[in-house]
């Protein structure tokens, strides 16, 4: 086949060797692969952490509306102060401000 003939190498060893520049060529491609993997996997991990946090918030709010004891905001603030909701990566002062803010719809 034409495609097979177009391959520049006759054997695996030759492919790995890259004409004597094995280290440089493979280091660059390895770095490239690592770079892509990190910049895809890190956002994905952060996403699952965020979703876990959001689900926890939702659970607490549901409990609160059933018990109708205190307001959801207070309950979340309590959970935050216990360090249960720490995945959002904010500072403590910001959270304190945020929890007092009323719920917003999406705004552009």
């Amino acid at each position: 086949m034409d495609l097979i003939n177009a391959i520049q190498f006759d054997s695996w060893a030759e492919f790995i060797d890259m004409g004597g520049y094995a280290f440089n060529v493979w280091a660059v491609y390895g770095l490239f692969a690592l770079f892509i993997a990190v910049n895809i996997l890190v956002p994905l991990r952060r996403r699952s952490a965020l979703l876990r946090d959001l689900r926890r918030r939702e659970r607490i709010e549901n409990q609160v509306t059933r018990n109708s004891g205190s307001t959801p905001g207070v309950q979340i603030a309590k959970a935050e102060s216990r360090g249960q909701l720490d995945e959002t990566g904010e500072t403590a002062s910001q959270r304190a401000v945020d929890t007092r803010r009323p719920q917003q719809g999406d705004n552009s």
Binding site: Q8, N24, F32, R47, L51, L54, E58
Partner: protein, 248 residues
């Protein structure tokens, strides 16, 4: 037209649209980068001067070319933040700064690995492209550290927007002044710093394909982190709560 513009800036709209588009974008990225990599590694004929090291350049040139897009991108996003106060623009800009720093770093790393073969040294001050890329890296890190130093999200958004616009102008000035400096300090070395002139059309097709792939990867990574930013900043918005509730 303005309605469309306002809609574009809505985090909810972006989130929902990107949910639909992301799988296709990922498929395209994998296909293009995969094809370009296989082509570069297996089929690219060795360069008559550089041998198989021209395979390094396929990746290096693609990442380097793409990393030049970050400051213009951030400057445009910054202008949108300052003029129209669009939240989405800042969410993109925030992640673009960090990703841009990554891109610059990888450009420097792959460049020095290539240089270790072609120039016989890992770092060469007399290559103006490397030097100005180093300063672009520093400038991007400056934007990232300003962002992390300012606690107020709104203030940080505007401050980083302004810094990105100034930085974008400055990157150009730095590039030209470094080139100027370089021509005057050209050491009498026999090593030719010119690259690429000896490469054939196969090399440029592989590189063009890789550039397309890297741009696609950039957009995938940027969309992923922007979606996270949306979830975090809009976590008290009704639509986010409804989406979480609907999951079960």
């Amino acid at each position: 037209m303005w309605l469309w513009f306002a809609k574009l800036g809505s985090p909810k709209w972006f989130y929902e649209l990107s949910t639909k588009w992301l799988p296709w974008l990922v498929v395209a990225t994998v296909l293009v980068i995969g094809t370009a990599t296989v082509w570069a590694l297996l089929f690219l004929p060795p360069d008559y001067q550089q041998g198989y090291t021209s395979r390094i350049l396929v990746v290096h040139v693609a990442v380097a070319g793409t990393s030049l897009a970050f400051f213009p991108l951030m400057a445009v996003a910054g202008t949108i933040t300052l003029v129209w106060k669009m939240k989405l623009a800042d969410m993109v800009a925030k992640n673009a700064a960090a990703l841009g720093a990554w891109f610059s770093f990888i450009t420097l790393a792959t460049g020095s690995i290539w240089g270790s073969v072609s120039w016989g040294t890992w770092w060469e001050w007399s290559d103006s492209r490397l030097v100005s890329m180093l300063f672009q890296f520093f400038l991007l890190l400056g934007v990232v550290s300003l962002r992390s130093a300012l606690e107020d999200t709104d203030k940080a958004a505007k401050a980083c927007a302004l810094l990105s616009i100034v930085g974008c102008i400055n990157v150009v000035i730095i590039k030209y002044s470094v080139e100027w400096w370089n021509t005057l300090h050209q050491p009498a070395s026999p090593v030719s710093l010119q690259s690429g002139s000896a490469n054939g059309p196969e090399f440029w097709i592989a590189t063009a394909l890789m550039i397309l792939g890297v741009y696609l990867f950039l957009s995938v990574s940027l969309i992923l982190s922007t979606r996270n930013e949306i979830l975090q900043r809009e976590r008290r918005a009704l639509w986010v709560k409804e989406m979480i509730a609907a999951e079960r």
